[in-house]
């Protein structure tokens, strides 16, 4: 049975209210609902985002994203969550550019990140996109598609990444090196906390030489190498992480793509940090001012050096995440 468009909208509205309004006694119900959400539901929700973005893109006369899907496998809900968070950041920036209104970003869950949490973030992004749609006076409606129960977190990751790229093409102020710089700085802060677990290690490595003229693609490659090292550290620690495949057309790499991979790094480091339990999480860095890819490349060098140290330490103590916790 297919529902009319208004009924789909109503259904979505009711579902979203379940997560927003949690009166006393309803917490358990909301938690149950959160746990019942499957990747197929999130995939369907992202498809709505994509359709709404297409309506906005057409209205604004902006280009279509033609980049090939990102080659990723073995994604877990936590990795998809952080990818969804980048979707929200871009949607919020678009909404700000069009309406001058801002909203708070969704909170990062304290415990295990579930598919339901991803749904909440995607929904928050969808609301921002719909705010833009209303502002632009677009009346066409997007209709929910058919649910495919076979969808996995990796499928959701890929479709969010594509929506991310399309969103970037709608922005007046596209995601730039300063945004990537912030993410890399956050990754450094997480790594510093991980290193503080090992006595005698340098928490933040010395700043490497500044290399002028670096481009986003150089930063991208450096971060891919850092991610590969982090995967090895995770393997040594008995944890699984997503796998990123080769990018065929690196000539088209933009700061937005670099931002996305930096967000994956933050997600993975936050996950390791969460395993340690007792160390306070770092704060999201503030806007650092104008930055060039060379600045980000230099900072990524600090991150790389930190992970070299971490890998060395973890090789000696692979059960570090099951130890006593922080020494800080």
């Amino acid at each position: 049975m297919s529902l009319p468009p208004y009924a789909c909208g109503l259904l979505l509205f009711v579902t979203s209210q379940l997560f927003i309004v949690t009166p006393a006694g309803a917490d358990g119900q909301a938690e149950k609902k959160l746990q019942s959400i499957q990747p197929a539901d999130v995939f369907l929700h992202v498809a709505l985002v994509r359709d709404e973005l297409e309506l906005i893109r057409f209205e604004m006369g902006r280009p279509n994203n033609h980049l090939a899907q990102i080659a990723v496998s073995n994604a877990a809900p936590r990795e998809v969550f952080f990818q969804a968070l980048t979707l929200f950041h871009k949607a919020d920036r678009l909404a700000y550019e069009q309406t001058r209104e801002r909203v708070n970003e969704p909170k990062i869950p304290q415990g295990e990140i579930l598919t339901g949490h991803v749904w909440q973030v995607v929904d928050a992004a969808l609301q921002r996109i719909r705010r833009v749609k209303n502002e632009l006076g677009i009346v066409e409606k997007s209709v929910s598609g058919i649910r495919d129960a076979d969808k996995r977190p990796t499928d959701v990751f890929r479709v969010i990444a594509q929506a991310d790229r399309q969103l970037n093409l709608l922005l007046e102020r596209r995601f730039a090196s300063s945004d990537v710089f912030k993410q890399v700085t956050l990754a450094i802060a997480y790594s510093a906390r991980l290193l503080s677990h090992f006595d005698g290690t340098q928490r933040i490595a010395a700043t490497p030489p500044y290399q002028r003229g670096k481009r986003p693609v150089d930063v991208y490659h450096r971060l891919v190498a850092v991610l590969a090292r982090l995967q090895k550290i995770a393997q040594q620690s008995g944890l699984a992480m997503l796998t990123l495949g080769d990018v065929n057309d690196t000539a088209e790499i933009t700061p937005s793509d670099v931002y996305d991979i930096a967000s994956v790094l933050v997600a993975e480091l936050a996950y390791l940090h969460q395993q340690l339990g007792s160390i306070e999480a770092p704060l999201t860095p503030h806007y650092p001012g104008r930055k060039f890819p060379a600045d980000v490349y230099q900072r990524a060098g600090i991150l790389e050096a930190q992970l070299v140290t971490l890998q060395r330490e973890v090789a000696v103590a692979p059960d570090w995440l099951h130890g006593k916790g922080s020494t800080e």
Partner: protein, 142 residues
Amino acid sequence: MKNDTINILLVEDDEVDVMNVQRAFKKNHINNELYVAGNGIEALAMLRGDGVETIIPKPKIILLDINMPRMNGIEFLTELRADPAFRSISVFVLTTSNDDKDRIAAYDLNVAGYILKPVELDSFIEAVATLNLYWTLTELPL
């Protein structure tokens, strides 16, 4: 005046830059006690003892970043200069902001210097060495 006994407050939200200042102090054998605040609000709290331990004796030098969350460098300076207890503190802005607006605002609020953070660590260490020489030569108010 022997200035290596005076306290210095660094107001900086970026952990990498905090580490760079600490490294520069060590390299230049600067033995002054260095306190760190993550933004203007934290810095004011540390100066006034609002909910945290007061820095005693009061810092005579502040190294201040501009782009920070909650209260940025210019907002902090405005508060600092409005407070008779702290208006004589020497403030050096240490920032990546090359914005004329920030520079003018900072000098309007009587900063002792506005220094762009060098991107090379060695140059940064040299800049801190020069600052140290400056405040060692300078007679600061009691």
